[in-house]
């Protein structure tokens, strides 16, 4: 099972936001980091894959299925998309927020299995103590962890996480990324994560996908993409890579 996008163009009004963007087959069990500066089109690419935005041209193929042949509902069963922004001011308990994803928004009957699944998910995300709290009362970071938990409880073939670590402290960034990576491995699912932190991307991703002004500029192993001169050009910074004390790939950026 693979996910391939080919020649995707998306416009809002007369403005083209994605310009013939495409990527090579994303493999099951692997994590791809989607990187690129602000307004590069990362979120738009995710929305397009999820079917929430219509593309003018191009095809997205999942495992021999052209996704445009599916209804939005069918498509969203196979592709789990966690949006970058959500309203976290509601008087909804954390348990209910995760439960609604477990129930796929259908059916009133909440079985024992449903409840156990939700409780297990909350416990393994270390937010069991927040189960009864309203999401409106959580900190931004806690709400983001709930959102990741809500996405991970769904059983899909493809998972798209739009900046899942933007509000998190160091410890929780590492937690969330390793949870996502493990889940992709265990489920043999295709994972794509939009990230701003290149070090995090280098550490956890099997592949990097660099996008700038709506075009896919580079893709491949973290090492190859991060040492590509295009990345410095895209971000408009000087970039130097090195190896950290634990043999991990390090990225340093300089503004001059």
């Amino acid at each position: 099972m693979t996910l391939i996008a080919h020649d995707i163009s998306v416009s809002f009004g007369t403005r083209r936001v994605l310009k013939n963007a495409g990527f090579d087959a994303a493999q099951p069990g692997q994590l791809t980091a989607l990187i690129g500066p602000n307004a590069a089109g990362k979120s738009t690419l995710f929305r397009t894959i999820a079917g929430l935005v219509k593309s003018d041209t191009g095809t997205i193929v999942l495992d021999d299925t052209d996704l445009s042949a599916l209804t939005t509902q069918q498509r969203l069963r196979r592709i789990c998309f966690m949006p970058q922004f959500f309203t976290a001011n509601a008087a909804l308990s954390v348990f209910d927020v995760v439960l609604m994803a477990q129930k796929q928004l259908a059916g009133w009957r909440v079985t024992d299995a449903d409840m156990t699944a939700v409780a297990t998910a909350l416990d393994s995300a270390n937010i069991g103590h927040l189960a009864d709290a309203y999401i409106g009362e959580l900190s931004g970071g806690q709400a983001q962890i709930v959102s990741v938990c809500q996405a991970l409880i769904r059983k899909s073939d493809v998972y798209l996480f739009d900046e899942p670590t933007s509000a998190l402290d160091l410890r929780h960034q590492l937690d969330v990324m390793s949870r996502i990576k493990t889940a992709m491995k265990q489920r043999n699912a295709i994972g794509i994560v939009a990230l701003h932190d290149l070090n995090l991307a280098a550490r956890y991703a099997d592949h990097l996908l660099l996008i700038g002004s709506g075009r896919v500029l580079a893709q491949g192993s973290p090492k190859s993409v991060l040492s590509d001169p295009l990345i410095a050009q895209t971000y408009q910074v000087a970039i130097q890579t090195g190896t950290g004390p634990r043999e991990e790939l390090n990225v340093h950026a300089y503004a001059d």
Binding site: P83, F86, A90, D96, M100, A119, D132
Partner: protein
């Protein structure tokens, strides 16, 4: 050997049992509200000129052979329709307010504050004064039909307005108030050329009154509730998801624009029927859901029934109050709900930033 429980298993079990007991508490609360409602209905039937004892009422209802003919007339023909109409209309307005607040993402929304009620009044007045029917062939329902068409058109205008970028909840309310003034002015225009009889009818709409309740109307309200509420319930997960933002709901598979439009149609129907039977009763759709939100939160499985029950309790209480304030005088209910609702409304606006919105 018994199953050894790991710390994780214990944690999971305690989360599940907490959730269970929360649900049980919620259910208990709803049962309690239903019980309270049956008590207020009883009190409502007992009070009024020629007050009856609880025993009188119970014997009329459950043991008719022992009750006097006069008591039967008072209970069956006069008071029971009014008491039941009060709870039906209260539930309709409570549900309408709750879902308007949900789909417009605005805690200040209610059929009255957004001008739906005055639009419906105007539609009804068109039928009464000019005999215009906006739905051809609506027959005996043409007053209600007109009220519905006007309410729906206003809903659509409001819906269009929410599509504009950067519209705050407060700005929406200002637009709603502009609608309210517009329709009141148009209504005044119609009053100018109305006959005395028509005028009395229009004033009835403006002030809000339960006096014209009848069994037929109660039945229609029950039918409308029986159509709209199950639809809303069937959409409850989607509506709950919508509270987390449009994109989140869409990513979970909600067809947001269809949901909004269909719920808006349901809300317009509820508001229009309520208004065409009892007039423009203010703020019940605001206060009911607000109480529900404080007590059970915004998960629709609790929020929807609780808003309906809170609305029904408010209206039933208002019906009692309208007779009890001055013996022998029955005040228009719209006046009373306004007096209760306005402080609520103002405090809601002032506490916006601290609440679960924005």
């Amino acid at each position: 050997m018994s199953v050894t429980s790991t710390p994780h298993n214990d944690a999971v079990q305690s989360i599940v049992s907490n959730y269970r007991s929360r649900n049980q508490r919620r259910l208990l609360l709803l049962v309690g509200a239903v019980a309270a409602l049956s008590i207020t209905v009883m009190i409502d039937v007992m009070t009024g000129p020629a007050s009856l004892t609880l025993q009188d009422v119970l014997s009329v209802i459950f043991n008719p052979s022992r009750a006097s003919a006069q008591q039967k007339v008072i209970v069956w023909d006069l008071r029971l329709p009014i008491a039941l109409m009060a709870i039906c209309v209260g539930a309709m307005l409570g549900v309408a307010g709750a879902e308007m607040q949900t789909i417009l993402n605005n805690p200040l929304a209610d059929p009255f504050t957004l001008g739906l009620s005055s639009a419906a009044s105007f539609g009804a007045a068109l039928a009464i004064v000019l005999q215009w029917s906006l739905i051809p062939g609506a027959g005996v329902f043409f007053v209600t039909g007109n009220a519905f068409v006007m309410a729906m058109l206003t809903s659509l205008a409001l819906y269009g307005f929410t599509r504009l970028r950067g519209v705050t909840p407060e700005a929406m309310i200002l637009v709603g108030i502009a609608m309210l003034f517009t329709f009141n002015a148009l209504l005044a225009l119609l009053q100018y050329g109305a006959s005395e009889l028509q005028l009395a009818q229009i004033i009835f709409w403006q002030l809000g009154s339960l006096a014209r309740a009848s069994w037929d109307k109660v039945l229609i309200c029950v039918i409308i509730l029986a159509i709209v509420v199950p639809y809303f319930m069937s959409r409850s997960w989607s509506l709950t998801a919508l509270r987390m933002g449009e994109e989140k709901a869409a990513s979970l598979g909600v067809n947001v624009s269809f949901l909004r439009l269909s719920v808006l149609a349901g809300v317009s129907l509820l508001a229009a029927v309520a208004v065409s039977f009892v007039g423009a009763v203010a703020f019940v759709g605001l206060v009911g859901p607000h109480i529900a939100r404080i007590i059970v939160g915004e998960d629709q499985r609790g929020f929807l029934p609780c808003s309906a029950l809170a609305g029904a309790l408010i209206m039933s209480g208002t019906s009692i109050a309208s007779k009890a304030i001055t013996p022998g005088v029955i005040y228009p209910i719209g006046m009373i709900t306004s007096l209760i609702g306005i402080p609520f409304f103002v405090s809601l606006i002032l506490s916006q930033r601290k609440r679960h919105w924005q």
